[in-house]
Symmetry: D2
C-alpha cells in the first residue's frame, strides 16, 4: 500500500498516522518528493482500512498494491485448479464442459427428456432451477424440494451430475445428492451463505453479481475458500450497463482477467447474459473462443410454455446446433 501525504503535514497528525500504521504491523518506507511525501507500506496490509486513511486531513491519496485475496490468487497457486464434480467430469486444467437444462424444473417427463437430449448433444452436467429467485413475488418461484427430487431422478436416468441453485442455507440438507451448488448473481454477496458453504466440501458454482467487479467476485470466492472449501467454479453471466438491446452485457474480458489473477475455473452463461434465445449461439461461440472452461446454457423442450425465462431458452434442436458449433470451434480457442 502506498500513502501520499500532503506537503508539510501537521506534525502531530503525521506521527499519529505513522504510529497507528506501525501498530498494525506494517513497515514504512518514506520517500519525499517536491510537493508531497510517499509512504510505502510493506507487510500484510489486508487489514488496513484504505478508505479511513484516505479521509485523514493530511493524506492526499492512498493506493492498494497487493490483491486483497489469498486463497483464490494465482500468485500463490500458479497451477490451474481442477475441480472434480463427478466421475469423469472435471472443471479446469484444460477441460471443457457444457452444463445445460431447463431454467425451471417442471415435471419428471420434462426434465428427463431434456436431460437425455442435452446428454446426447455432449453436455456433461444437467442444470435446472428448483428454488427460483424472481424479481416479482407474483412470478413462479420454483418447485422447491420436489424440483430437486425430479433433478435427482433425471440424474439416475441419465448419469449426468446435477447443479441447482441454493437460495439460503437452511436449504442445505436438501442438496445432499446435488453435485454442484449454484450461488446466484443476487446472492454473490450474501456473505452468511458464502461462509456456510465454505464449511461444506461440495463444489460451488459462484455467479458474478450484476454490478460486481471481477475483484469482488474473487473476494466472494475467498469467503468460501477461507472456510476450507476450495472447490469454487466462477461464472460470468452479464453485467448491468446502459445498453438495453440485451438484458445484460456479457463481459467476455472477464475470462482473460480471471485467468491472470486466479487459478479457479471460469464458466460463462450466455443465456442469462443476453436474455434472448437468438443471441445465445453467437455468445456461446465468443465465450468458447475466449477460452472459458465451460458453458451453462438454458434448454427447454417447450420454450413458449416455460414457466420462467422461456425467452432465453433454446429448444433441444437449437441446443444440438450450438453444442456442435462450440465443440468444433473449441480446438481453435484461446489457451492460458
Amino acid at each position: 500500500m502506498v500513502v501520499v501525504v500532503k506537503k508539510n503535514p501537521d506534525k502531530e497528525q503525521f506521527e499519529n498516522l505513522t504510529n497507528w500504521l506501525k501498530s498494525l504491523g506494517v513497515t514504512l518506507h518514506i520517500s519525499e518528493g517536491e510537493s508531497n511525501m510517499v509512504l510505502g507500506l510493506v507487510g500484510d496490509t489486508s487489514s488496513v482500512d484504505i478508505d479511513l486513511i484516505r479521509s485523514l486531513a493530511i493524506v492526499e491519496d492512498v493506493k492498494r498494491i497487493q490483491e486483497p485475496y489469498k486463497n483464490a490468487n494465482r500468485k500463490f497457486h500458479p497451477e490451474d485448479s481442477v475441480i472434480k464434480v463427478a466421475d469423469g467430469v472435471e472443471f479446469g486444467g484444460g477441460t471443457f464442459n457444457i452444463i445445460a437444462g431447463p431454467c425451471s424444473v417442471e415435471s419428471e417427463k420434462q426434465v428427463i427428456e431434456i436431460a437425455e437430449r442435452v446428454k446426447k448433444a455432449g453436455a456433461t452436467m444437467l442444470r435446472g432451477g428448483a428454488f427460483k429467485p424472481r424479481t416479482s413475488p407474483y412470478s413462479f418461484q420454483g418447485l422447491g424440494c420436489s424440483g430437486i427430487e425430479l433433478l435427482i431422478k433425471a440424474k439416475e436416468a441419465t448419469g449426468l451430475p446435477i447443479i441447482t441453485e441454493i437460495m439460503e442455507f437452511s436449504q442445505l440438507p436438501l442438496f445432499d445428492e446435488v453435485d454442484v451448488i449454484q450461488v446466484g448473481a443476487r446472492n454473490m454477496q450474501n456473505f452468511e451463505l458464502l461462509k456456510e458453504l465454505g464449511h461444506t466440501r461440495k463444489p460451488i458454482l459462484l455467479k458474478r453479481g450484476l454490478a460486481n467487479t471481477i475483484q469482488e467476485l474473487l473476494m466472494s470466492a475467498e469467503y468460501i475458500m477461507a472456510g476450507g472449501n476450495e472447490k469454487v467454479i466462477l461464472c460470468e453471466r452479464g453485467i448491468r450497463t446502459f445498453e438495453t438491446a440485451t438484458r445484460n452485457t456479457l463481459d467476455v474480458s472477464a475470462v482473460p482477467v480471471l485467468k491472470k489473477h486466479t487459478h479457479l475455473p471460469v464458466v460463462i452463461d450466455p443465456s442469462h447474459a443476453c436474455g434472448y434465445s437468438n443471441y445465445v449461439k453467437p455468445l456461446a461461440l465468443a465465450a468458447t473462443a475466449i477460452g472459458c472452461d465451460g458453458l451453462m446454457i438454458e434448454v427447454h423442450n417447450d420454450p413458449q410454455h416455460a414457466l420462467c425465462d422461456g425467452a432465453q431458452s433454446l429448444t433441444p434442436d437449437a441446443f444440438d446446433d450450438v453444442a456442435k458449433a462450440c465443440f468444433a470451434l473449441r480446438p481453435y480457442s484461446c489457451r492460458y
Copy 2:
C-alpha cells in the same frame, strides 16, 4: 401490455399466440397498421412473461404498460403511508427524521456516547451495525448478538429507537427489541429473507441495491408487503456508475420518482453514497432539499479508529453541524 406483431405473420403461430394470451385471462384489442399489427392486452397482465413473447418469431416488440407492483403502488393508495417506529417517531406524511450512529457497534461506552450526542443534535433514531456485510472475509464482521445487546442498552439509556441490519433470517429472534430491521443493499434481492420479513410486523428499512433500478426496489418492497407487512421504508444509498471520485453515485432523482410511484417513505443515506466524510454534508443538504423523509448518517466518536467504514463517518461535532444545517434548510425543501 402491447404486443407488436410483424406484418403478415404465420397464421398458425399467430393463433397460438392469441389463444395462449386468452388462456392467461387477458382480453385482446387488435389494431392493424401499415407495417405491423398492435395487440392491446387488457386485464391483469402481471403473470404474462414479457421476454417470452418478445422471443417469438412473429413478434416485433412488446411493451408493458402497467407497473408490476400493487401494494406499493401510489395509484391504489394515493395517501402517503405513515410508518410509526416508536412513540413519537413516524416516517412519512410530512415528517423528517435523522437516523444516526456508528457504522459498527464497538463497546457500550462508544454506542451510548454517540447515542447521547446524536440525540442532542436532533436525531430520532440510533443506527449501529451488529452484523456487518464486508467484501473481505478478513475484515471485521461485527459483534453479532452482543452488538445488538449494546444497542438495546443505548436505547434504554437514551430512549432512542434503534435500527440494525439483518443478514439472514435465522437471526430474526435476536431482533425482538430492535425497532426497525434494516435490509442492506446486497440483500435487496435476497427474496427468501424478504418473504420471511413479510411475515413479521416490524418496520423494515429496505436499501436499494448498488445496481438495482427504482422499479426493482419497489418489487422488493412488494415481496415484503405481499406477505402482509406494509411497514416498509425505502432507502437510496448510491448506485454504481463509471465515476470513481465517489464510492457510489447518489441518485437523488430517486426521491421524486419514488414519490410519484409509491406511497412509502423514502430515506437517503449520504454516508454510504459518497464514502468520504467531507462529502456527507453537501449530500445531506441536497437530500433534504429534494424532499426525502429522512436521512441516515454515520457518526463515530473516533473515526480514525473505527473498525469499519471510518472514512465516511462524521465526528459528533461535524454531525451537529450537518444536522443543524439540514433542519434549517428543511422548511425550504421540496414537498410532494
Copy 3:
C-alpha cells in the same frame, strides 16, 4: 407508436392531443381498457416527440414501436451491404479483414516496417493515427498532415489501403488519398462532422461512443447515409462500465444485435476495448468467433517507446500469432 392515456382523461386535453397527433399526419387507433386507453399511432412517427407526449398530464406512458432509422435498417435492405475500400478489399457479405497498424504514425521507417509486417501476416488494411484525440492537452497530438503523408508512403510501398481518423471537417481535403475515413468514439455524435461526411463518397468507419447505445450508433450512421453516403462500416470498441480491470468493456453482443437490425458491416477493435496488449488475443478470438466482419488491431514495432497507447499495442511477432489464430478460427465462427 403507442400512447397510453390515463383513465377518464380531461376531455379538452385529450382532444388537443388527438388533434395535434393527427396534424402530424399519423392515423389513430383507439383501444379502451379497464384502467386506461391505448392509442395506436400508425404512419410515419419519426417526427413525433416521444418525450413531449410522455410529459403531458393525461398521458401515462408512450412507447416507440418502429426503429427511428431507415437507411441503416435491415428491414428495408435485407441483404448485407458490401463496401469496397480498394481493389480486392471489401467489407461485409461474408468477407473477413484485419486492419492493423500503429496507434500513432511516428516516422516513415516505423510505418513502412509495420505495414510490411502486418501485410505479411494477412492484414488487408493499414491503420495509423495522424490526428490523435488525447484526453490531456499535454499529450502528443499526432503528426497531423505529415502523418497522413507517411501513411500514403506506406500505402505506395505495400499496396495496403489506409485508414486514419478525422478530427473535424476542415481536415477533409487532406484525406484525398486515404481509403477509409475513421470517425472516433468521441466524435460519434459530432453531428456537423457526420453531415459533412455524408456529402463525400468515401467509406467511413464509425466507432461507437463510450456510452452510446447500439441504436444511437445506428442513428449516427443514419446521419451519414441521409446525406447520400451509404458506405458506412460500424465499429464496436468497448463501452464504459463500472469494471476497472479493463479500460473499457468490449460489448461483443453488439455484433448479433447489429446483424439483426442493420445490413452494414461490423468491425471490432479489441485493442482500445481492453487497453492492455496481453488481453488483445483473447478478445480478438472472441470477436472473430461471434462473426464480426473484421478486426482493427494496434501494432507497434517498439511498444515501450510508442508515443501513445503503447500499452495496448502488440509487437509484430505477437500480431503474427493473433492473426494466425483468428484466421484459423474463422471457419468455425458464427454466420448470419
Copy 4:
C-alpha cells in the same frame, strides 16, 4: 507516480525502465518490500504514459498521484475563479445565477416573451438553442444563424446576456455578440473545438459528457485554459447509468468533488438531467442546496408545441415557482 515492480525482475528490463524514466526527467525513489519493489517517481510526471508502464512484463501496477491538470487545479489557484459574463453578471466567488430560456429558439415573439418572463422571475442570463445536436438526422436541427440573431434581439429587448451552443468552430464568427459559448455534452471531448475556443477570450460553459468522469471534464477545461482562455464555467447535466426512470442520472456529488479539485464555477442543468418537467423543481432544489454556482433551466411558453425537448421544459409560471423556491432555499445551502 508510483510504479510497483514484480519480485526479482529481469535485470535488463529493469534497467531499461529506470533509464527511460530518468530520460523523461523524473527522479526515482526505490523502496523494496518483501514481495515487490516500489519506485516513487518525483517531478513532472504528466508526460509519462501510465498505461505503457503498466503493460511492461516486470511491472505489477502503476498509480498516478498528482492530478494531470494544472490550470484548472485548485491546488495552484486556491481562490475561486470569478468569471464576468456581462456587467453585473458574474459566476463564482459566492454568486448564484439562474440561466433560463427555451431549448430551441423558434421566433422573435417566443424568445422575447420567454426572456421577459424569466428575467422577471430572477434569471440573469438567457439560454436558447440555435444549432441543436439531435440524435436523429430527421429531427429539427435549430434555426442556425437566424436563431442567434433572434437571441440578440431578445438581449437588446431585455438586457439579459445570452448563451448558446456552438457545434463546430467554423461557426465562431457568428458568436461575436453571444456572451457565453456553450460546449455541449457530446462535444466535451471534441478536442479541436476546445483548442480553438482556448484562443478566444469568451467565457465558455463546458458541459460534462454523458459518460465522462469528473477528471475528464477537468482535462477538457484544461484544453481551453492551456490556450490562454481561463474563463471556463463547468456544467453537470446528468450521466448515463442503468436507471431508466429518468433520462440520465444527475450526479449532484460532482459539485463537492469539483469544489475540492478546481477553482472554476459549477452550474447544474436539471432539465437535461431528468428529461421530464415534473422532476425539474426537486432537482433544482437539490442542486441549489449542494452549493452549485448556478442553474440552467429550460423554459418554454408552449411546451406542447416546442420543436425539441418540450418534455423537459417548464412553463413560465412553473419557472416562477422553481426560481422562487431556489432563491428562498439558497441562504441555507452548502458553502465551500
